[in-house]
Structure formats: C-alpha cells, structure tokens
C-alpha cells in the first residue's frame, strides 16, 4: 500500500499547523517523523490516519482519495497507535490487545482462528504474552505501552502509524520496540512513527522526515536528513557523530547550538 499526502494544509484557530505538506510512504519502509515540539508531527500522523480532513490538499491510499475509502476498509488497512488517551477501564491485557481485531470482526461474532493467531502473534512479538491475564492498572507505563503496541500490531494492517511509541519505555525496551517496528516494516508493512529520540530514529529508520513549523524541511536517509546545519536551524542543537565498532553510524544531540541565526527555540 502507498499512503500519501499531497499539499496538505491544516489550520486550527487561525494558526496554520501544516503548511503544504507532501509525503508518500510505501510498503516495507520505516519512516521516522521528527521535529521540535509543536512542529505538527502528531497532526500529520492524524491526517494520514484519516482522523482529520485537510483544509486544502488530500490524502490518498494507492492513489485513491482517503475519503473515498470506506471506514471499514481504512480500519483494516491502516492501524494507528495513540497512547495519550490511556486505557479507560481496568480490562485484562488480552482483551485490550483483542480490540485491534474489531475491524475484522462482525458485530456479536466470536473471535475467529485468524483473530486468535493475530492476537497471540502480536502479544508474542511485544513480549506481553505473560501479562495476558493482568489487569490494566497493575501495569507499569512501559508494559502499558507495549500492550497498546500489541493492540495496534494485531490489526495486521498494511500501514502502521505510531505516535511516540517509545516515549515511556526504558532503554532496553526502546531498543526492542525500535527493532520490532523495523522488523514489522521489513516484513512488508509500512511504518510511520513520530519520534523524539533522534539517535534511535537515525539508527533504526530507513528514512527520516523532519518537520518544522508545519513544513517538511528534510526528507531522506537519516545521515542526510539530520545534517549539522539542519540540526542547528531546526532543533537548535549540535550533535556528536561517530561509528560503532559494529559499523553502525550514530548521531547524538550534544549541546544547544549558539543562537546565531535567531531560529533556535526558547
């Protein structure tokens, strides 16, 4: 599946949140959406998920306008991970994960074999299988995050949109989650994730899209997208770069850059 936005504009209360954004993501890609706070990352993700309609421009799935796609089809093909709303009721973990199968199930129908397999697989890859019978309030924030990620994965959609999927995780689980998202994309699904950790984003994503004040200012391989002048202009930081013994390159935000251009943020 190819998910695209074309010249999208979103205005909210007189402010332009997205200003002529164009982006296309295909199967097998792991795209990191990065940018400073308030750059419009989450808005772009919600736009891609079909939760908001643009004031100008359009969103397409395989070239078809998203508003011409039925809700059911969209729900089966596009999975979205949001964690800001939390989990409203003290449900069991397996029940929460199983919510991801709702687009595949008819009303009042029992879970099919495909549902069982998808739920079990999603719980296995996110390592929450042993939590299956636990109740939501007893989970740590990292466990809750993995449960919600399992919920999104068990839709088995062709495109996964994730809003800050690693924010509340400890370092080990951050690495696990990034490796997991990369594996999901290499298994054939497209993944678009809003990320704040530039180091992990640069290390795991195939492609980084940098948003600043509602515009895409860079879109490309991590090494080229996160050039020094862009880090300075957009994020207001300087970075250390290096190469690990295993050959992997890393970029590490190190210090606030001097306020030469006046573009740095408070």
């Amino acid at each position: 599946m190819r998910l695209a936005v074309e010249h999208a504009v979103i205005r909210l209360g007189g402010r332009t949140i997205l200003d002529g954004v164009s982006l296309a993501v295909g199967p097998g890609e792991f795209v990191g959406l990065v940018g400073p706070n308030g750059a419009g990352k989450t808005t772009l993700l919600r736009l891609l998920a079909g939760l908001i309609t643009p004031d100008a421009g359009r969103v397409t799935i395989d070239g078809r306008p998203l508003d011409g796609v039925t809700r059911d089809e969209r729900a089966r093909r596009l999975a979205a991970f949001f964690q800001n709303a939390g989990i409203g009721w003290p449900m069991r973990v397996r029940e929460i994960v199983a919510l991801g199968r709702l687009p595949h199930r008819r009303a009042f129908a029992a879970e099919s074999t495909a549902d069982h397999v998808a739920i079990a697989r999603a719980m296995a890859v996110t390592e929450v299988a042993e939590l299956a019978e636990r109740i939501e309030p007893t989970l740590s924030s990292g466990e809750r995050m993995r449960v919600l990620l399992a919920r999104a994965l068990c839709v088995e959609a062709e495109m996964l949109l994730a809003d800050e999927p690693i924010t509340a995780l400890d370092p080990a689980h951050q690495l696990d989650a990034m490796a997991l998202l990369r594996r999901v994309s290499h298994d054939g699904a497209g993944v678009i994730a809003v990320l704040h950790d530039l180091t992990l984003a640069a290390r795991y994503c195939d492609r980084l899209v940098v948003l600043d004040r509602g515009r895409i200012v860079a879109d490309g391989a991590p090494a080229t997208a996160l050039a020094d002048d862009l880090l300075h202009a957009v994020f207001g930081v300087t970075a250390e770069r290096g190469t690990h013994a295993d050959g992997g390159a890393y970029v590490l935000p190190w210090a606030r850059s001097q306020q030469a251009s006046g573009k740095t943020r408070p």
């Binding site: 059911d72 009721w89 003290p90 449900m91 709702l102 019978e133 007893t138 919600l148 919920r151």
Partner: protein, 340 residues
C-alpha cells in the same frame, strides 16, 4: 471495579449463563411483584380469568393494577441499568449515570410543566407525554451543542448545564404552584413511583424504550474501542458522530420515557454497572445486557420492598433507591479517590 477477579471467575465465561439467569430472575420478580400488594391475590387464578376473558374483579386487578406496575418496574429498571452502563462506557467515567446528559431533569421539567398547566387533568397520558417532550428537547439541545466539538468533556458540560437549567425551571414552577397541594403533588411525583400506572403507560413507553435499547446496544463495539480513546476508536473504523447520535437519542428515548411514566428513580443506573463488572470484567460491551437485567431486578425488588415495608403512606420508590444507592456512591468515591 478495580478489585482483581478471582482466577475462577476469569476462566469461566459468565456471559453465557449470567444474562439468561438474570433474565430468569427478572421473570420471577415480575411474578412476585404481581402477587405482592395490600390485598391477598391469587395470581394463577387471576391470570387464568384474564386470559379466558372473564370479567372478574381478580382479572381486573391483574390487568389494570398489578401487571402494569410489574412490567413498568422491569422496563424502567432495564432502561436505567442499560443506559447507566452505556453512559459510563461512552464517557469513560465510572460515576456517569443515565441523567448525566440532563435528560432526566428535562423530562421531569416537561412533566412538571404539564402538571402546572393543568393539562394533566384533561388527559391521563398528558403527564408522560410532557416528560417525553422534555426529553426530546434535551436530546436535541445536547446533539446541537455537541455538534460544535467532538470531545466527551463538552458533552458532560452541556449535560451539567442542561440539568441545572431544567432544575431551576422546575423550582420556578414549584414556586409559582397555584396552591400547596399542587406543589406537594409535583414533589411526590418527582420522587418516583410505580403506583397506579395503567397498561396505557406500558404501551406508551414500551416501543420508545425498545428502540432506544437497540440504538444503544448497536454501539457496543464502539464503546469497547472508545476505552482506548477517541483517536484509536476512530482509527478502528467507528464513526464517532454516529455513535454519539445513537447514544444521546437512545438515552433520551429510554430515560425520557422512563422518567415520564415513573418519575425520577435515582442511583439504579449509576450503581448497577458496578455490581455487574466484577462478574463480567471491565470491557464496556460486556456489561450492557447484564446491567439492563440487573437494573430491572433492582427496581422490581425495591418496588416489592416499598409494598412490604410497614411504612404508611407507602415510601416512594425513588426514595428507597436513593437511600440504598447514596451510601454505595460514597463508597465508590472513596474507592476511586486513589486513582486520580
């Protein structure tokens, strides 16, 4: 509730037997309700008389007094329980009740206006019709207010505002009551009761309630999805505007017609979902039907109790449910205080 379920309860599937057994309980309570009253009453004989079309006193009491009272108890109770469970699930708030959107207050106001205007004397169904009109007005207002934004917080605020307004106008009507007896009659009616209702009341509210039940039950999967927030629910393919319309309209139909025929019966819709959840788990859709049947059972039990209690004049049904429900609510508040 948050109490961990015992492994036994988790493993079994209480949904399979819970709804049928609650339905059976409601059926038994309907029969008990028919047989309880101030005069000794032979239920099988009366039912046989009525079925055979014999115009005996027993058949008359059965059809005109006992049966409507029992049926209305079940219908109103089912409506309150179901609506309470739907509202709690939809608003993601364990303290939500069927009246949270202001529908009960508006229905009461509609009935009070009918009372006050003297129309109640002209037509026996004027009172419930006034209540239904009030509920319809409330549903319209809520839907119009909610159209401006999508969040459930706005919906709750609109409901609080509407409740206060309807309450103030009800007080105004009481203030202007032509004589103390009129005011007393209104106050007693507001307390909620199933005494002296007829089959006309049943036929009036039954179709409205059934439509409302179906509208609310049709949102059960969306309620499950909404437990992860509106964005996730929308991403799972649910049309949240349609869900809101069905819930507000369904609640207005069931609660509005319930208040219209019985007055305000509080706390049932708030308490019942909490009684049911330890048996079925916290998933919102799992508690809908059990809450309906448990609500019906609770109202029938309370209505049987007011007839068995020695207090004279008979206690009002709404007073009894509030007396039992309020301590439960206080306990619930303490229970939730730690969760923030």
């Amino acid at each position: 509730m948050n109490a961990p379920l015992s492994p036994l309860v988790q493993r079994s599937h209480p949904g399979r037997w819970l709804v049928p057994s609650l339905a059976l309980l409601v059926a038994i309570l309907v029969i008990v309700s028919i047989s309880s009253g101030y005069a000794a009453f032979d239920v099988p004989a009366a039912a046989a008389d009525w079925l055979a079309g014999r115009n005996t006193l027993q058949a008359l009491v059965f059809w005109e007094l006992r049966l409507p009272r029992a049926l209305l108890g079940a219908l109103v109770g089912f409506s309150l329980g179901l609506t309470g469970a739907v509202m709690q699930g939809y608003l993601r708030n364990p303290l939500a009740d069927p009246g949270i959107l202001g529908i009960s207050s508006a229905a009461a106001l509609g009935a009070v206006i009918v009372f006050y205007s003297g129309m109640a004397g002209a037509l026996s169904l004027a009172l419930p019709l006034g209540g239904i009109a009030g509920a319809a007005g409330a549903a319209l207002a809520i839907n119009l207010l909610a159209m401006r934004g999508t969040g459930t917080l706005g919906l709750i605020l609109a409901g609080v505002g509407l409740s206060s307004l309807a309450g103030a106008l009800t007080a105004l009507a009481l203030n202007f009551a032509p004589n103390p007896y009129a005011a007393l009659e209104i106050v007693f009616w507001l307390m909620g009761s199933l005494t002296d209702r007829s089959m006309d009341h049943v036929w009036l509210c039954l179709p409205l309630m059934v439509i409302g039940w179906l509208m609310m039950l049709s949102t059960s999967r969306a309620l499950d999805a909404l437990s992860l927030g509106e964005d996730t629910a929308a991403s799972l393919g649910f049309d949240l505007v349609s869900v809101r319309l069905r819930i507000v309209t369904g609640a207005a139909l069931t609660v509005g017609s319930g208040v219209a025929v019985s007055g305000a019966i509080g706390f049932v819709g708030l308490v019942v979902p909490h009684l049911v959840r330890p048996l079925v788990g916290a998933r919102p859709s799992a508690s809908l039907l059990p809450s309906g049947f448990a609500g019906a059972a609770l109202v029938l039990i309370a209505d049987i109790a007011v007839r068995l209690l020695p207090a004279r004049p008979e206690l009002k049904l709404g007073v009894v449910t509030a007396l039992v429900g309020a301590p439960f609510l206080i306990g619930l508040l303490f229970h939730h205080r730690g969760r923030g």
